[in-house]
Symmetry: C2
Subunit: 350 residues, 2 copies
DNA sequence: CTGAAAGCGCTTACAG
DNA sequence: CTGAAAGCGCTTACAG
């Protein structure tokens, strides 16, 4: 008797529910919002009728009226990285903890890390009325499509000018890795990064250079290699020439900016019959599930992704509510000791 | 002079643009939609004014009027898996290829693979008026919140009853893996899976049992182990007891339902001083970046995720447009030969 | 070629 | 405690 499968053309609306019960449409709306003015009996009848008719509020109606969607957008350059899942968990926690009485939901947009990055972001932002945006490692978004979000954006990792930021302390990460290597006697250090035009990677490169400059240790040389993509395959291609260098020129340790790149160094080392860590130390600035899967256990830094996500969410809710927020908060990364670093071969040889 | 930072309370609307130009609001709207009735000169003035004032259409307005958001939701149980990134790419391709003249955008929802799965899905679906939904490996969604999407859902991997499905042929995958192992003389086979209550994994378990039953080879024994989560750590915990069995009872080969679990078997084998593949063969039903990173190179099946995503998107667009679609299409997985399988030790020993 | 107007489904003052 | 009405910003017939 009741049509559960409302045809797409005409959804069940609050007017349908009202008519079904012989009450006014406003009563239905107020009952659902839990307003105190409607009697408990009426509220119950309304809830039952909604159930029976399969009523679901059309979000666009509320959005248009209130100007709020109670949804925030989390934009990432690519799905498939553990770190973004951890960020999302943090964001959810932050949203739940926000003293704000709204039940937020999060929708994710992937900018796809390619030429269409801008288009993907723009489309998704256009198509949906987010109350605010969190950009995680999204490369330098052009202000255009984001203009309407001025004051309602928080960025993680890279931030466009003027956008508040909650991120990892990459300088501390670089110093930590360098200290480990210098302590073990490494002086010829390789650096395998990727996507040189991406700000997120450019930052790490800069951090390592800075760390070397301010280390106070002389005679440290840095060899750079950039993978065309953040994949095992591209990493192997990029690191192979460096590992094929004669022993006297070859780095004794490689700093990797992604776990996939560390796996690539392991594979490349095996190809050259080099043993990790005795012939070659490997350290990674960004440990994740890929890095945890390889053996010997990878030494590296673990990002406080949940905490950063949570801080970003709390800041965003404040920003949305007009509460002033700090421009930048950086959280330190934790060193996880594995078995992928050892004293530099030259040092032990003498 | 122009206020680019529209305060959140009051966005720039088409009325503002119209007023600015001294034209009607409908002219602005029609100019933007590219209707032929507005003159080229007027259209240009409108576009310039929109730029100048920073006008961005409020999506809720259009949605309310047209009933369409031109957005589809892709729901996944968890971020951080390469396969979902590949599915997303396929979905985008399919959407672009749909003969449909609408510029679709995709927003992703993560159901978070936990107790709140349902809540997360519901929230996101409620908060946004998607025109349709693709559910990728989302566990048995209760029909409740999804009712309004009847006829506008396509599922990947697991599908609730009555929901059309585009997926991987897991039976073919199980048969292929089993054939490889039987051919090499393996008869005691272990199976490392995870999350036994998740349909996506239950399917793979069933497929393997079926494949053994119909293989025509007698004397095949199957030992099951289930990890509490799809992580290296949980995998090691789950497989350790099996690998600690006396040699006569220990499986000579392990089938893994995820690359993280295969990495766990590698780690567990190393703990027991077992060499892969001479002492223990490992094969994986789902190769991804984690699996590609470990050595010896993992033998396993590669899912046609892009193709499945694309089929799902095309089917969904048809469904949205009222075109009838097939209930189920399954695509075969490709066997990728690595170095992780070898003849069963017992066979070579005699 | 352009304008005035209706209406999508909500929330929320405003009357009773 | 409840109803009638306005209005959020769009798109799209309907007039001119």
């Amino acid at each position: 008797m009741v049509d559960h499968q409302a045809r797409p053309g005409r959804p069940v609306t609050s007017v349908d529910v009202a008519r079904h019960l012989g009450v006014s449409q406003s009563t239905v709306s107020l009952a659902l919002s839990g307003a105190p003015r409607v009697s408990e009996a009426t509220r119950q009848r309304v809830l039952d009728a909604c159930d029976e008719l399969g009523y679901r509020p059309v979000a666009a109606g509320r959005r248009l009226r209130t100007g709020r969607s109670n949804t925030i957008g989390l934009f990432v350059p690519k799905l498939g990285y553990e770190v973004f899942d951890r960020v999302l968990h943090g964001v959810r926690e932050g949203l739940a903890a926000a003293d704000d009485s709204v039940r937020w939901s999060v929708l994710i947009g992937s900018t796809d890390n390619d030429l269409h990055e801008q288009a993907a972001l723009t489309d998704a932002v256009q198509a949906h009325d987010f109350d605010g945006l969190i950009l995680a490692a999204v490369n330098e978004p052009d202000a255009g499509p984001l203009k309407r979000f001025a004051g309602r954006i928080v960025a993680i990792e890279t931030a466009p000018p003027g956008v508040p930021r909650r991120s990892y302390d990459l300088d501390q990460a670089a110093r930590t890795m360098l200290d480990v290597l210098l302590e073990l006697g490494h002086r010829r250090i390789g650096h395998l990064s990727a996507l040189p035009d991406k700000t997120a990677f450019a930052q790490q490169r800069q951090a390592l250079v800075t760390a070397i400059g301010s280390s106070g240790t002389a005679g440290v040389s840095l060899l750079e290699a950039d993978a065309a993509d953040v994949t095992l395959e591209a990493g192997i291609d990029a690191i192979a020439p460096m590992l094929a260098l004669p022993e006297a020129a070859r780095p004794t340790a490689i700093v990797c900016d992604d776990s996939r790149l560390a796996a690539a160094v392991y594979a490349g080392a095996a190809d050259e019959r080099l043993t990790v860590p005795t012939d070659l130390s490997v350290i990674c600035s960004h440990l994740d599930d890929v890095g945890r899967g390889i053996r010997p256990a990878l030494t590296g830094l673990y990002r406080p992704a949940e905490a950063v996500g949570s801080l970003a969410a709390l800041a965003l809710v404040d920003a949305i509510n007009g509460v002033p927020i700090d421009a930048e908060v950086l959280l330190p990364c934790e060193l996880v000791a594995g078995d992928s670093v050892a004293p530099a071969p030259a040092t032990t040889a003498r």
